[in-house]
């Protein structure tokens, strides 16, 4: 519970223009290979950022660096004015997801609760701290309501669909009322209807809670209406700007150092052509 107080007390004194995340000339090297470098990024409160790029380009690495899970080889990252560190309750994190096994028979509500006090040592004593227990239950309920998961929050999580599990995991990330939401491919492995549903939930949360959202995605189209800016990572280079600025034939061709064509369909969807070979080779790399 103690980890909540900074979040709660920090909320009212948000200076309108001080960035929640400040990345200065950052680089990450893993196993001697530079993943990306010279990254300059400043995220404002309430901003919705999509992190795009081919597999293995280092999208998840960027999230993990902000979470303090991966050290930088150069530069600095500060989160809410402090250096990035592991276990920061101001960031709600949903990692890249494999599903819960069907035999995990724990109700979703308990899994959401873990976001609140899962790392605390000792056991809670509800009969001694009634107020605290009630507050915790209320917080969990609030997060479940935010993602619209009330109908199945008490069912075993292993029996739920991918979209339902994803919503509960977002609720788990939300339960500390974070200033930043870091979501790693939350729409992957969902069908189209659930992709739109979960994307809508994330957009609504960012509007209602004022949290900045960093969302790693494979396909920009389901989230296109929601995003403010795009961070596009390819071949160690990073381009940042609005979707109209970044996802263009010129910018992507420069990033990939190979001709790329960006097409916009009549219904506003974006199609990127010409990176198939790249995708395949990155795929092979990712499998190791």
């Amino acid at each position: 519970m103690t980890d909540l107080s900074p979040t709660a007390s920090a909320a009212p004194i948000t200076p309108a223009l001080s960035p929640v995340i400040q990345v200065e000339d950052a680089a990450v090297a893993l196993g001697g290979r530079t993943i990306w470098q010279e990254v300059q990024l400043s995220v404002q409160p309430g901003e919705f950022l999509a992190i795009l790029g081919p597999n293995g380009a280092g999208k998840s690495t960027l999230l993990k660096a902000i979470l303090g899970l991966i050290p930088l080889s150069h530069g600095t990252i500060s989160v809410l004015g402090h250096p990035a560190r592991r276990g920061n309750a101001a960031i709600g994190y949903v990692p890249q997801r494999r599903h819960f096994d069907a035999d995990v028979r724990v109700r979703g509500r308990s899994i959401v609760r873990l976001g609140l006090d899962g790392r605390d040592w000792g056991l809670p004593l509800p009969f001694l701290q009634r107020g605290k227990a009630r507050e915790a239950r209320r917080r969990v309920q609030e997060a479940i309501d935010l993602v619209g998961a009330e109908a199945y929050a008490d069912r075993p999580i292993g029996e739920l669909s991918g979209g339902e599990q994803q919503r509960l995991l977002i609720a788990q990330a939300l339960v500390t009322r974070p200033r930043i939401l870091a979501l790693d491919e939350p729409l992957d492995s969902l069908d189209l209807r659930n992709q739109q549903g979960v994307a809508g939930v994330i957009q609504q949360i960012s509007r209602e809670t004022g949290a900045a959202v960093l969302l790693v995605a494979h396909d920009i189209n389901p989230i296109l209406p929601a995003i403010d800016r795009v961070v596009y990572i390819a071949q160690g280079q990073v381009a940042i700007g609005t979707p109209e600025e970044v996802i263009t034939t010129e910018t992507l061709s420069r990033l990939y150092t190979t001709p790329i064509e960006v097409l916009r369909t009549s219904d506003g969807r974006i199609v990127v052509v010409g990176q198939t070979e790249e995708e395949v080779s990155y795929h092979a790399h990712r499998l190791r």
Binding site: G87, L114, R119, P156
Partner: protein
């Protein structure tokens, strides 16, 4: 007087009298005391084992105890110490072999450690003389009726340590078990907890072996927890149910074992297994009925088959 009781060694419908008969002898008092302590801690431990899908690791770690116990006999140290040392060594081995795997246990590493330790136990038996043959049976299947006062004290102290440790790490361990990636991001020391868990498991095994033996320990560790998961999805309640079931199996197993000429371990295991089968099949039937109900009344036969 004991002879008079031996004549009336059959249970009546008078429950109070039965319990009096049951607890008349000191060895039975010790058996119940030790059995109760072991059941409590094994049930709780088991919940995490099922949650972590580590029942194979648990089973293997228990079997490693075989080498520990036979080695203890050979080197003349207390068997509980031998069991614990062997278990901790195996935990270190499993953890080291798994370092490459990302926060997950690999069955291959566990199996390799497990088989190597069985071979070692085999060697220890061969080195020891034949008079330990009976001892091997006790290690494999337990001998709850031969628990001394000293054993009870050791079991009680170990239980105290285990309960304390579990209360301390229960929540982070639960988090790390169910979702290691998020737990790690939240600052939970996932890998350290995984190792601490295996060490605690080694201690549970060392303590429990006297009651149920290394081969039958599964009945108290995994089966009650597996049943509990089908009864409730609330973690604390499930752990409590697992403990309760563990207790019931042990108590009834000891009683039936006392009133019949057959071994206690058999009854504990069989009650656990029987309940597991009952709950699983009950669940299956319930799901079928529910599906039939949910199907529209018009084509209930099709809905039921789907």
């Amino acid at each position: 007087m004991p002879i008079a009781f031996a004549d009336t060694l059959s249970p009546s419908w008078d429950l109070v009298a039965d319990i009096q008969i049951l607890l008349h002898y000191h060895f039975m008092q010790n058996a119940y005391l030790a059995g109760t302590l072991v059941a409590v801690i094994a049930g709780f431990m088991g919940y995490f084992m099922v949650l972590r899908s580590q029942s194979f690791a648990g089973h293997s770690l228990a079997n490693v105890g075989f080498a520990g116990a036979t080695g203890a006999v050979l080197f003349g140290i207390p068997s509980i110490a031998g069991l614990f040392v062997a278990g901790v060594l195996a935990a270190v081995g499993i953890q080291t072999l798994n370092l490459a795997e990302n926060n997950r246990q690999s069955d291959v590493a566990v199996g390799a450690v497990f088989t190597a330790s069985l071979a070692l136990g085999f060697l220890f038996i061969a080195l020891a003389t034949s008079e330990y043959a009976a001892n091997v049976y006790d290690v494999l299947f337990g001998n709850p009726l031969g628990i001394s006062d000293g054993d009870v004290v050791i079991i009680a102290c170990s239980t105290l340590v285990l309960v304390g440790a579990f209360v301390l790490i229960a929540r982070p361990l639960f988090f790390a078990s169910i979702d290691p990636d998020v737990a790690a991001a939240r600052g939970v020391p996932v890998r350290t907890l995984g190792f601490v868990y295996l060490v605690l498991l080694a201690l549970v095994v060392a303590v429990a072996v006297q009651v149920v033996g290394v081969l039958l320990i599964f009945a108290l560790l995994v089966t009650p927890a597996a049943i509990a998961q089908y009864v409730t999805t609330r973690p604390l309640v499930a752990a409590a149910v697992a403990v309760l079931l563990s207790l019931i199996f042990t108590w009834i197993g000891l009683a039936v074992g006392y009133f019949t000429p057959y071994p206690v371990g058999f009854f504990i295991t069989t009650f656990a297994f029987g309940t597991y089968v009952l709950v699983r099949s009950g669940r299956f039937v319930l799901n079928r009925v529910r599906q039939r109900w949910l199907a529209s009344p018009g084509d209930s036969s099709i809905g039921g088959a789907a």
